[in-house]
Symmetry: C2
Subunit: 140 residues, 2 copies
């Protein structure tokens, strides 16, 4: 399928299409761990924010509480995340289990290989610039 000139200049469109490449490759590599790219992101956020609540996790993932609930259930069933007592008795404090820490390290290694593969056409400088621009867009 052809893409006309106008399409070339639509950044969001090009972005979404490139995202498919990352997602498809990441999904394939993460499958053996039993998690999707989105749940991999959840594990990363929990690791960097030990003791966080489900609501906070949902906020960071741009999903609502009930969806955050399902994600947490799944990761707990896999033995990667534990629900612990919080100071606030209403809330759960989420943490990675030792098994979750170990599995996440392996997932990160796999995902780094995905990055390398998808960005194989970029030079080291281009890759660094690409990452810099991504951060700049996100921090706006």
């Amino acid at each position: 399928m052809k893409e006309g000139q106008e399409l070339d200049s639509l950044v969001g469109y090009q972005f979404q299409r490139a995202n498919l490449l990352f997602m498809a490759a990441a999904e394939e590599r993460l499958r053996e761990f039993g998690v999707s790219p989105a749940r991999f992101s959840a594990l990363l956020l929990i690791r960097d924010n030990p003791g966080c609540t489900q609501s906070a996790l949902g906020n960071a993932l741009a999903v609502n509480r009930s969806s955050a609930m399902k994600i947490t259930n799944h990761l707990q069933e896999l033995g990667f995340v534990s629900r612990e007592q919080s100071e606030d008795a209403r809330a759960n404090a989420l943490r990675l289990t030792p098994m979750g820490e170990k599995a996440l390290s392996q997932m990160i290694a796999a995902v780094r290989e995905v990055d390398t593969a998808v960005l194989s056409s970029l030079s080291a400088d281009e890759r660094a610039e690409f990452l810099r621009l991504l951060h700049k867009v996100r921090s706006a």
Copy 2:
């Protein structure tokens, strides 16, 4: 929620997070037209490939035939796409209707505004470089 250092260097993760910004903004702007960002992409592909089959569309969108069917149904119900006779009697030839052409032009204008908003923190040079790198990644 905090993001640790390691997360900063995961390109695919940063990419997916930035993609959320585009998607959320595009979804909001496209809602009035009755289409999602994915279906907007379908319209663009049909416009640039008049007479294409549903299977080819599905291929380009990375979904299978039955999903391409639903997308086509939806766009036809909106009056944006027509199924016409193909040389191959098994296949449909997809085309934008005049109404679809007109609506798509308006959608593109809306999506360009999304691009501008999401990339507001980048200079003109940075934006051009960003787009160049996206194309390079996609063409690999």
